[in-house]
């Protein structure tokens, strides 16, 4: 007997779970296939959960989802070799429910989300790797897995197999990723007693802090670092463009280890104990690297489609939103008795274009190229800013006017007047 489902979803990350949950909740027969031992066991993120995207799928998720800490404070640091300039935003507005952002542990969170898919009627099978898509003419008719007799058929396949999306590449839906379009991030999860975390980061109860960092920690490469507080662990990581790692010849674990010794970071990690070391690729190509999102019998969502807003460090919310919109597209088309072909599935793209996902990615479409060609934003400027702060803050008998002149001179010497103006223009164009 030939097994056939209304939809197959490949992958149980945020995008796949959102798609499977949305479709299963509407009564569709949904099969979700996950290669990990359990949903989440192959998935990596910083990780910050943006409540809004999930709330639109599971409004009362806060009652049961495994959440670590809600963020009440965001720090931005620009680091030189032995100093940092930073800004902090902390607000009591973030300390009132419903909370806006949470740290999460993906292995636990994805497992919970998958349980919701199953409660909604979706069938989830784990420990099964999808090897390729099966076609009927140009229509995707199902998937072939590594299980015996592994062919499974469906009216629709949703590709949520993550950044590497080997399925899309094999099917020719997606060109191979380029080293300049992906960041390689490495991260450690470090145990620290909750009361120590709270003292060290000025927190109470379930409050949390996120620190985003740029500057010399990436050793001249385009990239950023982060430090997040979980309930009883810290996560510290750094990610840079893969093309830059290749050029600078710095192993990623060396970069992370050196970052951990920075005088601003080391004290925050004191007494921690390593629990896990992970690595992950992040699609950073932005708007111009997004492949076609749909075709005859298929749609692609989340990281598989490169939906990451690298400026704002957002990805999982774009993933969940794309998964939800893909699901809603199918539900609408089925209700109208329409086939799930290329022409009709264009509705998914229209929904995406109207959402923040494509609007935000489009807004920053020039940025990946600008940053790629202008590493000074990650090297010269953090150093110059730290130097300027040092002049302004230190009291050494020099008059203030001379100090100001010295700061101006340092900027002019390093970048030149036209360089400074050009950099300002480039950034303005990239963010406009």
């Amino acid at each position: 007997m030939r097994e056939k489902f209304d939809a197959i979803v490949v992958g149980a990350g945020p995008a796949g779970n959102a798609a499977a949950y949305t479709m299963a909740s509407a009564g569709m027969s949904v099969l979700q296939i996950e290669r990990g031992e359990t949903p989440g066991s192959k998935n990596v993120q910083g990780a910050i959960l943006y409540a809004d995207a999930l709330e639109r799928i599971i409004p009362d998720f806060r009652d049961e989802a495994p959440l670590e800490r809600y963020l009440i404070e965001q720090r931005f640091w620009m680091l030189s070799d032995d100093a940092y300039v930073g800004s902090t935003y902390r607000s009591e507005a973030f300390n009132r429910p419903p909370y806006n952002r949470y740290t999460i542990v993906r292995a636990q969170f994805d497992k919970w989300f998958s349980k919701k898919v199953q409660e909604a009627g979706g069938l989830v099978i784990c420990e099964t790797t999808v090897r390729e898509l099966m076609f009927d003419g140009d229509r995707v008719a199902g998937v072939r897995t590594d299980r015996e007799g592994g062919a499974i058929y469906a009216d629709l396949v949703v590709l949520a197999d993550g950044v590497n999306s080997t399925l899309a590449v094999k099917a020719g839906f997606h060109p191979e990723l380029k080293p300049k379009d992906v960041a390689l991030a490495v991260k450690e999860t470090l145990f620290l007693a909750p009361e120590v975390i709270e003292q060290r980061f000025n927190l109470k109860g379930e409050e949390g802090v996120a620190i985003e960092m740029g500057g010399n920690i990436t050793q001249g490469m385009v990239g950023t670092g982060f430090l997040y507080t979980n309930r009883e662990t810290l996560t510290i990581g750094v990610g840079c463009l893969l093309s830059d790692f290749a050029q600078q010849k710095i192993p990623p674990y060396v970069l992370l280890e050196q970052m951990k010794t920075h005088p601003a970071i080391r004290p925050l990690l004191e007494g921690t104990e390593l629990k896990e070391y992970v690595a992950h690729l992040i699609p950073e190509g932005g708007y111009n690297a997004i492949p076609k999102l749909y075709g005859n019998g298929w749609m692609i969502v989340g990281d598989s489609a490169g939906l990451v807003n690298s400026v704002h460090r957002e990805g999982s919310n774009l993933a969940m939103t794309s998964g939800r919109l893909a699901g809603e597209t199918v539900i609408e088309l089925r209700a109208a008795g329409k086939a799930l072909n290329t022409a009709n599935l264009a509705l998914y793209k229209r929904k995406m274009d109207e959402s923040f996902v494509m609007k935000d990615l489009k807004k920053y479409r020039r940025l990946p190229d600008v940053l790629h060609k202008n590493p000074q934003f990650f090297t010269a400027y953090p150093e110059l800013l730290n130097g300027a702060m040092h002049q302004i803050v230190s009291v050494d008998g020099t008059d203030k006017k001379s100090k100001e002149r010295e700061v101006r001179r340092s900027f002019g010497q390093r970048r030149g007047l036209f360089g400074l103006m050009g950099d300002a223009f480039k950034l303005w164009r990239a963010f406009e």
């Binding site: 080997t166 990723l177 290749a246």
Partner: protein
């Protein structure tokens, strides 16, 4: 500076190794040896799975693989890496992720 040992980091991770069935293979060792000058995989792999041997060869041991895809993407010039996901249930098993 003290030498950084990636094995110590990987030691904390949980794996279910598919013994005898590596999910990544170097297609042709001669290409690494004689055609690839940069051998970027030996630097970029975050698990240090690729080792540059003194004689110009590159060896690959996938047991510590974090399944990130770096080697697949970095080997653009020679396309000399045969990369598949491990069989269902095998490979890295993230406790936190």
């Amino acid at each position: 500076m003290t030498r950084i040992n990636v094995e110590e980091k990987l030691f904390q991770n949980r794996y279910k190794v598919d013994a005898g069935r590596p999910h990544i293979q170097i297609k042709d060792g001669d290409v690494c040896r004689s055609q690839c000058k940069t051998q970027q995989c030996t630097v970029c792999c975050p698990a240090g799975c690729y080792t540059a041997e003194g004689n110009g060869a590159v060896t690959l041991i996938t047991d510590g693989c974090l399944e990130c895809g770096t080697c697949r993407v970095i080997c653009t010039e020679h396309r000399n890496v045969e990369w598949e996901y491990p069989r269902g249930g095998f490979g890295i098993l993230f406790k936190f992720g």
